[in-house]
């Protein structure tokens, strides 16, 4: 057995008869049984009387916010897998941080959670918590009578906890139970029932015997939950992470001279499924292959498979500061939904603005130079319209040219897709 980890300078300060006292002693014994030194343990305590626990021990300690102890504990454990991390939390914090309990059970990170369950918020005046029996008299008036108490063990079990144990503060062997939970490889929860003489048992008769009887009437929770047994999260994470590859977006080398200078703004108006955003990216990459600066702004509905898709691209031989479009030099019109998003723009276009318009899409009165694209005749599928339009734009050779476009496709695609997009550009670029 290792030495006690109790902090001799700071003895427990609980109310006389408080069951937390017993749990403090049992936890220390558990540490000793496991032969743990203070530097091998972190106690993460919650708020309330259970939040005092960290101060009674000579271990690493983190005392955070109410209900959130499990979150800090997980962060610590992920960064320090070798550390034994024990969380002490009352039934009050349990209710506040319910989402974190569910997450911890599902995740199965090797933490131990001691629920110091005394059926009320002791420190704040005995208000009801998630475990207060409906018939109890507590500091919340009649409110607890209207709600059903929660069985933390059943919740933990159904959320996937692999180790769930219900204990009484008064049972013999509590230290062994806690030690077993700490030694368990995975998330372990010990629901320790106790008495709060300061607040709860003044109005509600509660004795070790009553606790034992009540516990016996509950569904069993006696340690390992076979159906939830599985490898520990941290070890699986580290193993899986080893096989991952870090991928950075590619560098784009300048290979060509740009066809023109100055700033060019291109607007693509389409709908979901026309690969508008991808076309915008290709256009930018094409510009970058000739050393141009590029920006791309996208607009689409949160329902990504339906609705308008709008892309604003700027290519410039100078630094691009403002990323919004004024009067675009090129508008590629591929569907009505996109047009509807920019209706007012058409009447204000410069006469020399080029409008590449699908023959089946209507636009408002327009002051730009309209060039019709008959995709049916060109044999272009809806999903390829945007890319085909880029090929037409490249063929005009003012902002990008065909070589730049092809180089962008080389960068962006591989294998079969690359062959097919290059083929499309080839075909449209030579026919149109």
């Amino acid at each position: 057995m290792a030495a006690s980890l109790l902090n001799k300078d700071r003895p427990p300060v609980f109310c006389p008869g408080c069951s937390h006292d017993r749990i403090t002693g049992a936890l220390d014994q558990a540490f000793q049984k496991l032969g743990l030194a203070g530097s091998q343990v972190a106690i993460v305590s919650d708020i309330g009387c259970s939040g005092l626990f960290d101060t009674f021990f000579h271990t690493h300690a983190l005392h955070g916010l109410h209900g959130r102890a499990l979150t800090y504990a997980a962060g610590i454990k992920l960064a320090r897998p070798g550390l034994q991390v024990v969380v002490t939390m009352g039934d009050g914090g349990q209710g506040i941080g319910g989402a974190h309990l569910l997450a911890a059970c599902r995740r199965n990170l090797n933490l131990t959670m001691l629920v110091l369950n005394n059926f009320n918020f002791g420190m704040t005046g005995g208000q009801f918590s998630v475990t207060t029996p409906s018939e109890a008299r507590v500091g919340s008036g009649f409110l607890n009578q209207l709600e059903k108490p929660l069985d933390i063990c059943q919740v933990a079990r159904s959320a996937g906890a692999a180790y769930v144990k219900r204990c009484s503060s008064y049972q013999s062997g509590l230290a062994d139970d806690i030690a077993e939970a700490i030694a368990f490889e995975g998330f372990s929860l010990v629901d320790i029932w106790g008495i709060c003489p300061g607040r709860y048992s003044r109005q509600n008769p509660l004795t070790p015997k009553i606790i034992a009887e009540s516990m016996a009437a509950m569904p069993p929770a006696d340690g390992v939950v076979e159906e939830n047994r599985r490898p520990e999260y941290g070890s699986v994470y580290r193993k899986t992470a080893k096989g991952q590859k870090t991928v950075h977006p590619p560098h784009v080398e300048q290979q060509f001279q740009p066809p023109g200078t100055g700033r060019h703004e291109i607007l693509l108006l389409g709908n979901a499924g026309q690969r508008i955003i991808t076309a915008g990216e290709i256009l930018c990459l094409a510009g970058m292959t000739a050393g141009l600066q590029a920006t791309q702004k996208n607009e689409y509905n949160i329902t990504v498979l339906r609705g308008p898709s709008v892309c604003e691209v700027i290519l410039s031989s100078d630094r691009i500061s403002f990323t919004g479009l004024g009067q675009p030099d090129v508008v590629i019109v591929l569907s009505r939904e996109g047009v509807d998003r920019r209706k007012s723009l058409f009447a204000e276009l410069h006469p020399q603005s080029l409008v590449l318009k699908a023959t089946d899409t209507q636009i408002p009165d327009c002051s730009g130079a309209v060039h019709l694209l008959d995709f049916k005749k060109m044999g272009v599928k809806p999903a390829d319209r945007a890319l085909a339009s880029l090929a037409v734009l490249a063929k005009a050779g003012k902002i990008i040219d065909i070589e730049m476009l092809k180089a962008a496709l080389w960068l962006r695609f591989t294998d079969k897709v690359q062959d097919s997009v290059l083929g499309l550009v080839e075909r449209v670029g030579s026919n149109n």
Partner: protein
């Protein structure tokens, strides 16, 4: 090296990696989600950890735990998440936990518009902690800044043991642009300092010369205490009013007295009576607006603030000295202009703001400069 085609959020993630970030916890929220996506691509493969929190509060909690265990940590969200982070932010402020928090701002209030930009959280970031103690807020203008200022944010979080915010904006975060990160001047990477003598270590001990406590990690060979309660140098609760007061003043001065060491800005000085002050994505329109003015025969000065909090008052006063009139432009209904009015109380300070999810255009800013 050649440029890459990146959105601001990707540049943030790459900056974090360069800065030595090893831990990221976040959850999906537009327009910050792609930071999470990028961190997931970058961190696990390099020995770090990226996890998806069950909610905002948890994401911050995971980061604070990992940071206390010695790992540089970052999280990212948008306005609706910052409000939920708030209590954890206060913990990081009061208990001196280094963390970088990216706020990719979107149009509020509340759920607002997930895919529209705004700079509506600028005062919220400063005052969103209980106790009202200062925080550091840096504001990027473009993807290059997202990269560089993220590195600076980590350096500052490590140096001063505090939360550092990157006040990004959907319009920077989700706009992709060509940027050559390798051509940027990257600062030296700073790590939190351990004490010279760890045997007598006290987690919040400071000295005359050093306002920031030394750091030892939870999980190291010396047991370390951390607490969200009002504490003394030893990390235990204290009720000693003198000790409490000294600590609060230290937390305030620790950042406010040091702001000159991390005052980031860009400047285009001009022989003119007018200075435009802006920050974030709006500064890009302001730069184009001053170009328009110059071409129209009127030169105008421009000051782009990249350190917003603590307010770099001395720098702002110096830069504004030669101008009679100051025009503040920001993507909200008037937040940082209040600081400018306070700092430049003897100047004529005018304001233009817009909060409709649209970028403020250079033409509109020129009109404001021209007094229209």
């Amino acid at each position: 090296m050649a440029p890459r085609f990146l959105e601001g959020n990707e540049a943030v993630a790459m900056g974090a990696l360069t800065a030595g970030c090893r831990f990221f916890a976040g959850y999906p929220i537009t327009p910050a989600t792609t930071i999470f996506n990028a961190m997931l691509r970058l961190l696990p493969a390099t020995g770090g950890v990226c996890i998806q929190g069950e909610d905002e509060i948890a994401s911050m909690g995971y980061c604070l735990g990992a940071s206390m265990a010695g790992w540089k940590s970052m999280t990212a969200t948008s306005g609706p998440g910052i409000s939920l982070y708030s209590e954890q932010i206060s913990f990081a402020v009061g208990s001196e936990i280094p963390i970088v928090i990216v706020d990719v701002q979107r149009l509020g209030p509340s759920t607002g518009s997930a895919t529209r930009g705004a700079d509506g959280d600028i005062q919220f970031l400063r005052w969103g902690n209980s106790g009202g103690l200062p925080v550091i807020v840096l504001a990027p203008v473009d993807a290059a800044d997202c990269y560089l200022l993220t590195i600076h944010a980590f350096n500052l979080a490590e140096t001063y043991r505090c939360p550092v915010f990157l006040a990004s904006n959907k319009e920077i975060a989700m706009t992709r642009e060509s940027v050559d990160l390798d051509a940027l001047h990257v600062p030296d990477i700073i790590d939190r300092k351990p004490p010279l003598d760890s045997a007598s270590f006290q987690p919040f001990q400071v000295s005359e010369k050093r306002r920031t406590p030394y750091f030892l990690p939870i999980g190291g060979s010396v047991p370390v205490r951390q607490t969200s309660s009002t504490h003394g140098a030893d990390g235990y609760i204290t009720t000693d009013a003198k000790q409490i007061s000294e600590n609060q003043w230290r937390l305030k001065k620790k950042l406010e007295a040091a702001v000159e060491k991390f005052t980031f800005f860009d400047e285009q000085a001009a022989e003119s009576d007018t200075l435009v002050i802006s920050y974030g994505v709006t500064a890009r329109a302001a730069a184009d607006a001053t170009d328009l003015c110059r071409r129209a025969g009127r030169s105008v000065g421009l000051l782009v603030l990249k350190t917003l909090w603590p307010v770099p008052a001395q720098m702002i006063r110096n830069k504004a000295e030669r101008y009679r009139r100051v025009v503040v432009v920001e993507m909200n209904l008037g937040q940082y202009v209040q600081e400018i009015q306070r700092v430049l109380a003897d100047r004529q300070v005018e304001f233009y703001g817009q909060m409709d999810g649209q970028l403020i255009t250079p033409i509109r800013i020129k009109e404001v400069i021209d007094g229209r």
